[in-house]
């Protein structure tokens, strides 16, 4: 097989030959030149790919190619190993597709430009393949010259100055590199990289053994690192990114970066572990700072430039951590690198299609769903979301960092990623929500092909990394595939897709329901069956409803996988999937852009905490079964618990992490609100359930963490309820109410006793039913009245009776008044706290309880009761499909109220496995606890009978009552002026605000907005470092060298 392989040197030779050939060609024969260019690049790519295949499948092993027929040090040698093959495939293919994307300028400039492109790609391939230092230098200089040449292809006049700045700093790089090389040569007597390693024969101790050698090595290293655009020596690169032709920027970011990284990697391999710290330090600083500086960017290409710089920094961190990464090194480094390369190339190519340079100009993509998909995929690649390579890579990286106690670095990496996600998804939000430019995107084939190739590559690599990861391959999991199928089916009418979706979810439940334990069965029921019921409401949407089903099904897929997850990896992957899906869903709302972003950021932040928690718990493993969480020992267990709990509670919107929720839930579409409120919030609770069940009580510095959770839950309940009482917007009210309800559930879990958990589960079920129902009714009302402000409504009871009934039943249930199911929750709550020692947080919860009446009454009164407004006199009942699920929910509520045992008994028994004490006794109709008893059926019958008797009596004697209209009220001998002035609704609880308004200062919002403001301001101030002056950039470089020298080597070579 080896003999059949084309020599790697062909990669370089063919490019050189073709470049010469182009030089000989007639100036006018552009087409031929073009064909030659593409063919050459294709050939280079083919050779690289063949090697990659052969090496990856083990059919071939690493080979050294001796150029002059003699081994080093007497001649230059090239090496083709797995990494080289992969990188040269990446570089050459990027070159090929960039060439296609560059068609217009290449044709305009003719064969010379094509030759320059070929030389550039050749030089990059050379950097990757060569094992000779001076050869490396030559290839670098070639790359510099070719890059400077390619920059000239830009339409942007400013590229000229950018190119010149590049040349200035490149001169500095090359001077340092050359001096370093020559001294290294002096020390070791060879230019061959392998010759600089400590000689096995003992001839010399390696290049870094002597002082001169160390400085030489440092000079080489710093010069190569400088090519990676490290902070702060990277102003030149950003200017190029901003002004160069985007198709070239793709090469500059994806290919040049990759090649330079590999050069650093090669160099570090001979320097030994002592030098890795420099790479890590430079990498992490660059990663963090570049991401912060990217925050205030409004120019898409410059933003991508910052992101490129940051990503390269991240890979540099990985290179710097190679000492602990072991076998996973290549998997991780390449996972991040190819994700970055593919995404960045794709994004730059996309940017070539966009006319404007502002971030909001990307709204133009909205007319092209395929390009939008590509955009989303690229962003997901960059952020490291499943199922893309960077996700697997980041998972492994974090686990390895955690197992070697490099926790600060781990924190920085995750924090930087979060910031990056911040600006990337803000950008995505702009693209989805901002006004699209009038002229749609023109998509010539040569622009489209590279993008689509990148898209295919992204998913293909996702599959590949999944297969390589040693974890479950996400792209093989049924729910995810089902969700992705909707991407392909997006052309179908919404109703058909809806039917498919419902059938799929029910089918999947039927397929798997035997696999769950009773607790998970409840959650699976809510996620899948409950989700299907909510989806009934989606039948009301006309047309295609583009993008809705992929997003929704992605969320449900994540939820389905979450319930099934048995190990940390599956759990985390599912968690990320559902986060992404719900983000897309929320983003669909009319004014939801900022809220979706803050949702995404809080969720990702939480997810990263979960990731860190799992990584800490795994202790060197790359995953752990969820049951094994309990095996984590002190003092680590406390931290694991804390990280996981905070992560999960970011999803349940605990106080402090709640500010995303109201906007996200309120601005979402009518049928999306119940999904993200009624269903999605339960994901966090499932996580908490798993956490407390497996880990039990944990302490940190002597503080009982579950006790903290108790306080948090109680305060959340109070804050949620209080804030809900003062909302004018009906959906915001419900959203705040959700915060409060989740507070109860968290409190129940944190009680750490049998009934506490049962109560939490009761809230899970109840909250799903009534919050879904209420969001649907309120959504239906808002749809009909055209407003969500409650004070603008009023008196709708006769016009929308079914919605009214749903809200009525819903608020009785939430308030916990017998006979509906909310009471069961309260009853269990009281019994649970009797069993607990934590009395103070409970008081807060007691206070929170009656406050629920405030917002509930307000909800029903200001919408349905009171005075009907002029413009609503002809309003009709909400659409059938929105009402239907509500009526189902009403039925469910009543059934659950009468026979709560149906759902709870099994879970009760299941919880007994963990906490044997305090189980309920389910005898006959009466439910008995250690302290009290309760008989739902009797309550329902008694209340029903009394109610009907009194009602019947009143009907009997009042049968002749005169029905009057809304202004027939005893209005202090006057008559009402207009309904608006008669409807008491706005600022409904003014006295309450007077008494307790101080509790509602938006401290949390202020905290987070100050934090983001600080970051943004830091970015805005920091980027002023880049003055645009080439000499300043050169000084930056020199300062960078000095700083790294001082910090990295302590001034001591």
């Amino acid at each position: 097989m080896v003999s059949a392989m084309p020599s790697p040197i062909l990669i370089i030779a063919s490019a050189l030959g073709a470049a010469f050939l182009l030089g000989l060609l007639d100036e006018r024969r552009t087409r031929t030149a073009w064909a030659i260019t593409l063919a050459t690049l294709g050939f280079m790519g083919l050779v690289s790919a063949l090697w990659l295949l052969a090496l990856a499948t083990g059919q071939s092993s690493t080979v050294d190619v001796f150029t002059a027929g003699t081994p080093p040090p007497f001649a230059i040698n090239l090496r083709m190993g797995l990494a080289e093959a992969a990188l040269s495939t990446l570089v050459t293919l990027t070159g090929l597709f960039a060439a296609i994307a560059l068609k217009a300028p290449l044709w305009a400039h003719g064969r010379r430009a094509m030759a320059v492109l070929l030389i550039l790609v050749m030089a990059l391939a050379g950097i990757i393949l060569t094992r000779d230092l001076f050869n490396l230098f030559v290839f670098f200089e070639l790359a510099v010259i070719a890059t400077a040449g390619m920059i000239l292809l830009a339409d942007d006049e400013r590229a000229l100055s950018a190119g010149f700045k590049y040349l200035i700093v490149a001169q500095f790089f090359s001077a340092l590199l050359l001096i370093g090389i020559i001294f290294a040569y002096q020390v070791t007597g060879t230019l061959n990289l392998d010759g600089m390693l400590p000689d096995a024969g003992g001839a010399h101790a390696g290049v870094t053994a002597t002082q001169v050698g160390a400085i030489a090595f440092f000079l080489m290293l710093i010069a190569l690192i400088a090519e990676l655009k490290p902070f702060p020596a990277n102003g030149w690169a950003l200017d190029i990114y901003e002004s160069a032709h985007p198709a070239f920027s793709a090469i500059f970011s994806a290919a040049s970066g990759a090649a330079a990284l590999f050069a650093v990697d090669k160099l570090l391999a001979i320097g030994g572990d002592a030098w890795l710290g420099i790479a890590t330090g430079v990498g992490i600083v660059t990663f963090l700072v570049a991401n912060v500086l990217a925050l205030p960017q409004r120019n898409d290409r410059r933003l991508l430039g910052y992101s490129s710089v940051a990503q390269t920094g991240l890979v540099l961190v990985v290179i710097g951590q190679r000492d602990i990464l072991g076998d996973g090194y290549l998997f991780i480094a390449f996972g991040i690198l190819v994700a970055h390369a593919v995404a960045k190339a794709g994004l730059y190519w996309l940017s070539g299609l966009i006319a404007g340079r502002g971030l909001e100009d990307w709204a133009a993509l909205r007319t092209r769903p395929l390009l939008m998909l590509a955009f989303a995929s690229f962003l997901a690649l960059l952020t490291g979301l499943p199922p893309f390579p960077s996700f697997y890579a980041k998972w492994d990286l974090v686990h390895l960092l955690a197992s070697h106690d490099r926790l600060a670095l781990l924190g920085f990496v995750l924090f930087g990623t979060l910031i990056e996600a911040g600006y990337l998804f803000r950008w995505f939000g702009h693209a989805i929500k901002r006004a699209a430019p009038a002229d749609s995107v023109a998509c010539p084939a040569e622009r489209l092909i590279p993008i689509l190739t990148a898209l295919v590559a992204a998913w293909g690599l996702g599959y590949l990394w999944g297969a390589l990861s040693g974890q479950a391959n996400l792209l093989l999991s049924l729910p995810l595939l089902f969700a992705l199928a909707f991407v392909l089916l997006d052309w179908l009418p919404a109703r058909i897709k809806n039917t498919l979706a419902i059938a799929g979810m029910l089918g999947y439940f039927a397929l798997t329901y035997q696999d769950y334990d009773p607790l998970r069965l409840i959650f699976a029921l809510i996620f899948l069956v409950g989700g299907a019921i909510v989806l009934l409401a989606s039948y009301h949407a006309p047309g295609r409803r583009a993008g809705f089903y992929p997003s929704a099904m992605l969320m449900y897929a994540g939820l389905a996988m979450l319930v099934q997850a048995q190990d940390s990896f599956a759990f985390f992957a599912a968690w990320e999937l559902l986060t992404v899906g719900s983000y897309f869903l929320i983003l669909r709302g009319k004014a939801s852009e900022p809220h979706a972003l803050s949702y995404m950021l809080f969720s990702l932040g939480g997810a990263f905490l979960i990731l860190a928690g799992f990584a800490l718990a795994a202790q060197g493993q790359l995953q752990l079964p969820l049951e094994a969480l309990g095996a984590v020992v002190e003092p680590l267990s406390g931290w694991v618990f804390l990280l996981l709990a905070v992560g999960f509670m970011s999803k349940t919107a605990v106080l402090g992490l709640h500010i995303w929720l109201p906007g996200a839930h309120a601005e979402a579409e009518t049928d999306v609100s119940p999904m993200v409120s009624g269903i999605l919030l339960k994901a966090g609770l499932l996580g908490l359930f798993i956490l407390v069940m497996n880990m039990g009580k944990q302490q940190l510095y002597g503080v009982e963490l579950t006790h903290l959770m108790l306080w948090l839950g109680a305060l959340t309940a109070l804050a949620g309820n209080l804030l809900a009482a003062f909302q004018e917007d009906a959906k915001r009210l419900l959203a705040y109410s959700s915060i409060g309800q989740m507070g109860y559930a968290v409190f129940g879990l944190a009680l750490m006793n049998h009934l506490g958990w049962l109560m939490a589960l009761m809230f899970v079920i109840n909250h799903y039913i009534y919050k879904s129902m209420l969001f649907l009714s309120v959504g239906g009302v808002a749809k009909r009245t055209g407003t969500r402000d409650m004070y603008r409504m009023g008196g709708l009871i006769t016009l929308m009776p079914l919605s009214f009934i749903a809200v009525l039943i819903g608020i009785i249930a939430i308030s916990g008044v017998p006979p509906l199911s909310g009471f069961g929750g309260r009853w269990i709550f009281y019994n649970a706290i009797l069993d607990s020692d934590a009395r103070l947080p409970m008081i807060v919860l007691f206070f929170a309880g009656p406050i629920a009446f405030l917002y509930l009454f307000r909800l029903i009164h200001t919408i349905f009761l009171g005075q009907l407004k002029d413009e609503h006199r002809r309003v009709r009942e909400a659409p059938f499909w929105i009402v239907l699920p509500q009526m189902l929910f009403v039925t469910m509520l009543i059934i659950f109220a009468v026979v709560p045992g149906m759902a709870l008994r099994h879970v009760d028994a299941y919880i007994s496995q963990f906490i044997p004490n305090g189980a309920l006794s389910w005898q006959g109709l009466t439910i008995t606890s250690q302290y009290g008893y309760w008989s739902p059926v009797s309550i329902m019958i008694i209340i029903g009978v009394i109610f009907m008797l009194v009602f019947g009596y009143l009907l009997l004697i009042n049968r002749r009552a005169q029905k009057v209209k809304q202004f027939n009220i005893a209005f202090a001998a006057e008559r009402p002026y207009r309904p608006e002035t008669t409807h008491f609704a706005w600022n409904f609880f003014a006295p309450y605000r007077k008494a307790l308004g101080f509790l509602m200062l938006p401290l949390v919002t202020r905290f987070w907005s100050t934090l983001t403001d600080l970051l943004n301001t830091a970015g805005d101030l920091g980027r002023r470092l880049y003055t645009g002056n080439g000499q300043t950039y050169a000084i930056h470089f020199l300062v960078f060298v000095v700083i790294v020298f001082l910090l990295g080597m302590g001034g001591q070579p």
């Binding site: 009853w827 009656p850 302290y931 009797s938 009194v950 009143l954 008494a995």
Partner: protein, 301 residues
């Protein structure tokens, strides 16, 4: 499923007794309040007369279905509350329908009538109704808190949520009453009691001079009759809970009458000498004076 059908007439008997007792007691209280002002006051049977008159009104109006349901909810709440709690300790006959649930059921059922009434009143579209409800709900959040804390303290103290068991634990002499075994809880509860009896200084809901009687402002004729019936039953039912929890319960009807009267008188004593609070004053008052007592009670148990 076996059900003691005899419980139904027994429960009806309880309702009947309490209804009459309540009507008379209300009149008596009104007379006492009048005597404080050196008036003669209403005749003792006046409430009966008012009730009959209101039933006898020939015309009435309705603002809609829910307007109808308001008083129905209200009365159901009152009667239900009465029946969910055993009235006479040790009497099978007057243990009513307490098999359906324990103390928690009673506590939450208190809100059934309030909420239903609020909804019915709001259906009338009268702003005073809505303002009254707004005031009432605002006050309830603060006023109920000490009571809830006291109840919880008592439940902790006796380690049960069953009203019968709590009463049983207080038998054997006056010093066994919660009043003496857990005075903090009782103090908190009694302060809360002031807030729930719609008497000055906490009558912010009805507030005749500000928002002419608030929620029921549109109710008349037989609607009002139902509300009046409830006015007779509901306070008694509520006091029965207090009596059972804090004052040793009642083993016979005379003791019952005496204790209910005395507990009721607490709110009357306060009511006749104080003018009305503003809403936010009332809220602050409960939070500052009553809640700390409740908190102490819980921590002390």
């Amino acid at each position: 499923m076996s059900f003691d059908w005899i419980k139904i007439p027994q429960a009806l008997l309880t309702v009947f007794v309490v209804f009459n007792f309540g009507l008379l007691l209300n009149a008596l209280i009104a007379k006492i309040a009048a005597r404080v002002g050196r008036r003669q006051g209403i005749p003792i049977w006046q409430n009966y007369v008012d009730l009959i008159k209101n039933i006898g009104q020939r015309s009435l109006i309705t603002h809609g279905v829910h307007f109808y349901l308001g008083p129905v909810f209200r009365l159901t709440g009152g009667v239900g509350l009465l029946l969910f709690v055993p009235t006479i300790y040790g009497s099978e006959m007057f243990s009513n329908l307490s098999f359906a649930g324990d103390l928690i059921l009673a506590l939450y059922f208190v809100f059934f009538g309030t909420l239903g009434m609020a909804l019915g009143a709001a259906e009338s579209g009268h702003p005073y109704s809505a303002i009254g409800v707004s005031r009432g709900l605002s006050q309830v959040t603060a006023a109920e808190l000490p009571f809830a804390l006291a109840v919880f303290a008592v439940a902790l103290q006796y380690q049960t949520l069953s009203v019968t068991d709590i009463v049983a634990a207080q038998q054997g002499g006056i010093l066994h009453w919660t009043l003496f075994t857990n005075p903090l809880a009782v103090a908190a509860a009694m302060l809360s009691f002031l807030g729930s009896m719609m008497r000055p200084p906490f009558d912010v809901v009805l507030a005749p001079q500000e928002i002419p009687i608030g929620p029921p402002t549109e109710y008349h004729s037989s609607y009002l009759a139902l509300l009046q019936t409830n006015r007779a039953i509901f306070p008694i039912a509520k006091i029965v809970i207090y009596m059972n929890l804090f004052f040793g319960g009642a083993a016979s009807w005379p003791v019952f009458a005496l204790k209910v009267f005395l507990i009721y008188m607490v709110s009357v004593f306060v009511g006749v000498v104080f003018p009305r609070f503003r809403v936010e004053q009332s809220i602050r008052w409960f939070l500052i004076w009553a809640v700390p007592l409740g908190v102490l009670a819980i921590l002390w148990v």
